[in-house]
């Protein structure tokens, strides 16, 4: 390195940063952090809303499903009761027919 290059090196020594640079930088950093923290809150609120709505929908689905199950159960029970009534009616009908036939036979015996 010659004398001129040495002169250049000395001339190009680092300059001290302005005294307020770090303070201003830290203030800007704080402002940026505050600005970025708002969307975080917004995202948190949005996420909470989505979770709430999802829970409501899930709850409604569970309630509707239970209601449908209860209705199906009732329908099954009603059908069973109807079948029982029909069976009872058939038995009664059969008994009445049987009695009727006996009465008719006795009537014919008395006439003879």
């Amino acid at each position: 390195m010659d004398e001129f290059e040495e002169e250049v090196r000395q001339a190009f020594e680092r300059r001290p940063a302005p005294p307020g640079l770090k303070r201003k930088l830290m203030e800007r950093r704080r402002r940026v952090a505050q600005r970025h923290s708002f969307p975080l809150f917004a995202w948190r609120g949005l996420a909470a809303s989505i979770v709430s709505v999802s829970l409501c929908i899930l709850g409604a689905l569970v309630v509707y499903s239970n209601y449908q199950q209860r209705e199906a159960e009732k329908q099954r029970e009603g059908e069973a009761a109807r079948q029982q009534v029909l069976t009872a009616l058939k038995i009664t009908n059969h008994a009445l027919e049987h009695m009727n036939a006996q009465l008719a036979a006795r009537g014919r015996g008395a006439q003879q």
């Binding site: 001339a11 190009f12 940063a17 940026v32």
Partner: protein, 172 residues
């Protein structure tokens, strides 16, 4: 990749603010703009702090981003049509009282008159004491180009300084 180094933002600012500010100042020639660039560079560092692998990596990153941001600022000024060279000459911030010789003081002003690529190479070579290989990595330029910029820049600076000295001697 996992790394043990835990970067401390404030400590990095303390250590490198002079370097970043000086690079921006010598590239743009404007103290206010250089301060703004330095702040921007450190704020970007803050965002990417987790990606810094070591102190050397952070220093290399700061140099590269400071040079890129300064180049961007110069381009923006050119687009806006401002007369940068006049402004550099006026605001380069050379304070004669801080300089050991009149030539030293004048060299900084003469630096501002060099083409941007040569100026960048010279600043990294003589302010940061980087090798041509390190300069090439910092500027993401071919090594041969960097060497050429260094040689031409130094030659031009020497010629300008020589003229200045002649004028100075005539003046005395």
């Amino acid at each position: 990749m996992a790394h043990d180094w835990q970067p401390d933002f404030e400590q990095l600012v303390d250590e490198h603010q002079s370097m970043v500010f000086s690079l921006a100042l010598r590239m743009t020639g404007d103290r206010g703009l250089a301060e703004e660039i330095a702040q921007d560079v450190f704020l970007e560092l803050d965002r990417k702090l987790g990606k810094m692998e070591s102190a050397a990596h952070a220093c290399f990153w700061l140099r590269r981003v400071a040079m890129n941001r300064s180049a961007d600022a110069l381009r923006r000024r050119k687009v806006r049509g401002m007369d940068l060279w006049v402004e550099i000459d006026e605001n380069h911030g050379v304070r004669e009282e801080n300089r050991s010789s009149p030539l030293g003081a004048r060299l900084e002003q003469l630096l501002a008159t060099l083409p941007e690529a040569q100026r960048a190479a010279l600043v990294l070579r003589y302010q940061e004491d980087l090798t041509p290989e390190e300069i090439a990595a910092t500027l993401e330029a071919p090594l041969a180009t960097v060497k050429s910029h260094l040689q031409r820049g130094l030659k031009l600076l020497r010629a300008k300084a020589s003229n200045h000295l002649k004028e100075y001697v005539r003046g005395v």
